[in-house]
């Protein structure tokens, strides 16, 4: 069985109410959704609440699970909305969902053991530069480059235009390129 067939089979079993299949589903997605929610919430307790709410939502709508076209986008969208709702309940802000609600966005420190691509020092510089980007830009960049979501899906999920997504990614890439150029030139 290929990966996608296997995943489809699992979704089919969940849609029929199979809780063991749902357990496997949870173990496959909880780390990813945890890491995504953590970028915005920064508290382990809140993130666990949010992710379990997302899974409950999946379980409640299991009847329609096979109709979902982009599973990853769907899960991240639910996560995103749950995070926004939570942030709002904590700050008592009105009920409008917008990217502006996320004031803090922290990408976990990234590290690659493969130093053939970027040296350790260069990796550190990239992390540092990423951290200094504006939160919205960081968010879009994270979804595009680290979560590998298609730009169109990001635009739909965050309710922004495709050109805004393009702009944020291009801006972040330029900043990272320049940073790399600077430190490499200084090394020589």
């Amino acid at each position: 069985m290929t990966g996608s067939e296997e995943s489809e089979n699992m979704l089919y079993r969940i849609s029929r109410g199979d809780e063991r299949a749902f357990d496997i589903f949870m173990s496959q997605w909880s780390s990813r959704l945890y890491n995504y929610a953590m970028t915005m919430l920064q508290s382990r307790e809140s993130v666990e609440e949010v992710v379990s709410d997302v899974f409950l939502e999946v379980w409640k709508s299991r009847g329609n699970l096979l109709k979902i076209e982009y599973l990853g986008q769907w899960l991240r969208t639910i996560t995103y909305y749950k995070v926004v709702t939570r942030l709002r309940s904590e700050t008592r802000r009105p009920k409008f969902v917008s990217l502006g609600d996320i004031e803090e966005f922290t990408i976990y420190p990234m590290e690659s053991n493969d130093e053939s691509i970027l040296s350790h020092r260069q990796q550190e510089a990239v992390n540092e530069e990423l951290e200094s980007l504006p939160p919205k830009c960081k968010h879009v960049f994270f979804l595009a480059k680290i979560e590998r979501m298609p730009y169109r899906q990001i635009a739909t999920m965050l309710n922004i235009s495709l050109s805004t997504v393009n702009y944020h990614v291009a801006y972040a890439m330029e900043r990272l390129r320049n940073k790399l150029k600077n430190i490499t030139e200084n090394e020589h």
Partner: protein
């Protein structure tokens, strides 16, 4: 320093290749490992609760039926009182000349732990919560419709552009044309108005005026406006359907509400006040029924004090 010259970053590379290299890097980054056992357990608990809730939906339908039956009885009672009121006054009216007889007032007090649905003469429907009092005329004469409330009352006011509807509570008045809102005034120090639909004008005894928008909640303390916030109105109107919505509220908050609904005093061990609750709580006519449900959610025990109005909640 270069292990692999083909791939390694070099400042002389064109931008396109540089981006490709960064993409390689992001691909090779591993996501932090997370212990997700807690999430799985939490989800399981929520699934279980969901199952219990859907089972309770049946019980709900039955209790809504009971409230509806109660409404029919009150409506009949109201018509009866209204008609006797008119007939007795008609006699007086003849003695006093051709004056229009003043309508009689009815006063209702809701028994502890219960809710009552009332239909007023103009078609306005109201639901009064446990221990609330409502004073209303059997007919609406004159150019305003005026009622008085104490406690918690949900209004669905019949539209009548010519005759504003006025709700007076201790410390403030709410003036409306036709809309849905909830007034809570068990104590003048902690009163509130929550607007579900339409628009209302609020005037306090200290002459502060505000026009409210849907989803707004205004807290009023001793006749002055304390706080205006945007809320999920279902949290403040869930009681009209016989349940108290617990969504993300702490045990401390819930106990405050139970104290006002049942006219009792519950003391909670500080180790438990911050406990968050989910789902909804059926408001039984007896507080002990509520305690039984709470004890099944939280590991706690309840002791009744000899004065029969004080209860003490502590961890089990």
């Amino acid at each position: 320093m270069n292990i692999n010259d083909d791939l390694h970053y070099d400042s002389n590379r064109p931008d396109g290749e540089c981006d490709e290299l960064l993409d390689h890097y992001f691909d090779s980054v591993e996501q932090p490992m997370v212990d997700t056992e807690g999430i799985a357990i939490l989800t399981r608990i929520k699934m279980l609760r969901e199952r219990i809730r859907s089972r309770r939906a049946w019980a709900w339908r039955v209790s809504i039926g009971a409230v509806a039956a109660c409404a029919v009885v009150l409506l009949a009672l109201n018509l009866f009182l209204g008609s006797t009121g008119v007939s007795s006054e008609a006699g007086e009216g003849m003695l006093a000349g051709n004056e229009i007889p003043e309508s009689t007032y009815n006063e209702v007090t809701v028994p502890t732990g219960q809710r009552m649905t009332l239909m007023l003469a103009d078609g306005t429907q109201l639901i009064a919560n446990s221990r609330s009092q409502v004073r209303y005329p059997s007919r609406f004469d004159g150019d305003v419709r005026h009622v008085w409330v104490k406690g918690e009352v949900y209004f669905d006011v019949a539209k009548d552009g010519a005759r504003p509807f006025i709700v007076s509570a201790d410390g403030f008045d709410v003036r409306v044309l036709g809309t849905k809102f909830c007034v809570s005034s068990y104590s003048p120090a902690e009163a509130s108005v929550t607007l579900v639909q339409g628009s209302v004008a609020l005037t306090t005894d200290t002459d502060e005026r505000i026009r409210m928008r849907p989803n707004q909640r205004v807290n009023i303390s001793d006749g002055t406006i304390d706080e205006i916030s945007i809320v999920d109105t279902s949290l403040f109107t869930s009681w009209t359907r016989g349940g108290l919505l617990l969504e993300n509220q702490t045990l401390g908050n819930i106990v405050d509400k139970l104290n006002t609904y049942y006219g009792i005093s519950i003391e909670v061990d500080p180790r438990l006040t911050g406990r968050k609750l989910y789902g909804s709580l059926d408001l039984k006519s007896d507080i002990n029924g509520v305690f039984t449900v709470l004890c099944s959610i939280i590991p706690m025990k309840v002791e009744a004090m000899p004065d029969s109005v004080t209860y003490r909640i502590s961890p089990r």
